[in-house]
């Protein structure tokens, strides 16, 4: 099982705080919405990720547990692995 950062695109309202707090995993598209690295959250960034999740003004970010990479479809609302 691995942890992945995901955004609920329905709740997200482009405040942009997450990209400021977690630039390693999140970048913004041209409209201000987060593009999130879909790979498992790297070691050492767990604390920063949790902080970004709790600071989202819309509670749109969440951490999802998934079976090991390579199995199953990547869910919608995850963005891409690189811009």
């Amino acid at each position: 099982m691995s942890d992945h950062l995901r955004v609920n695109p329905i709740l997200c309202d482009a405040y942009g705080h997450c990209a400021e707090l977690l630039p390693d995993l999140i970048q913004l598209d041209e409209w201000g919405y987060p593009i999130i690295d879909d790979t498992p959250i790297p070691h050492g960034l767990e604390g920063d990720t949790r902080r970004a999740v709790s600071s989202c003004p819309r509670l749109a970010l969440f951490i999802e547990q998934r079976p090991e990479a390579g199995r199953g479809l990547r869910p919608l609302g995850t963005g891409r692995t690189s811009l």
Partner: protein, 202 residues
């Protein structure tokens, strides 16, 4: 502590609370408007909003505690949460109680945000718009320093600040998803309605 000192502390902490609440209010609106303070990331605005609100809670606690200890105010514990039950000065103190209740609701719901979900949290947070005016009127009515120039100036400044940020909040878009259905394209859809393909062709 002499009762005079308590009384001064109560009044001072009250004024400081109102100033801090004004700052929290303005920073809350700045967050909603997605303000980017000069070269500072946006999360700083939100961080200040949250931290100053906690600081305001401290000063409010001092204000309330001293109000109870003060022998001249005749307040009991119930009067803190149940409005308009205080003996003397019931109206103005009651307003303070109302304001305290609203602030408490906002703060508590924010601390429990992850558990109640965004929509419930947001509904309660709207109470914040009510808490400031109530606190302000409470200050005007029960503040014994209202006769002084300095407090009148401070009061005017705070009111002006609130007025300005509320106007700012109401005007224009805040950067949320704003979906405007575009005008229909130039070739109007003059196709016959779907009845023609609701047939069995073969």
């Amino acid at each position: 502590m002499s009762s005079l000192a308590v009384w001064y502390l109560m009044r001072a902490s009250g004024v400081v609370s109102l100033v801090l609440l004004t700052a929290v209010f303005a920073l809350g609106i700045a967050t909603a408007k997605r303000l980017r303070p000069v070269r500072l990331p946006r999360f700083v605005t939100l961080g200040l909003h949250r931290n100053i609100s906690l600081l305001a809670v401290v000063f409010l606690a001092i204000h309330v505690a001293t109000a109870i200890i003060d022998p001249y105010t005749h307040l009991d514990l119930a009067a803190i949460v149940v409005p308009f039950t205080a003996g003397s000065n019931a109206l103005w103190v009651g307003l303070g109680t109302v304001s305290l209740d609203l602030v408490a609701a906002v703060i508590l719901s924010s601390l429990l945000r992850r558990h109640i979900g965004h929509h419930v949290w947001k509904a309660i947070h709207w109470l914040a718009y009510g808490s400031w005016p109530v606190a302000f009127v409470h200050t005007l009515g029960s503040g014994t320093d209202m006769g002084t120039l300095w407090l009148r100036l401070v009061g005017a400044l705070l009111a002006a600040t609130i007025g300005a940020v509320v106007l700012w909040r109401l005007r224009g878009r805040n950067g949320e998803k704003h979906f405007e259905p575009r005008a229909r394209p130039t070739a109007p859809n003059q196709l016959p309605d779907r009845q023609t393909i609701e047939r069995v062709a073969a």
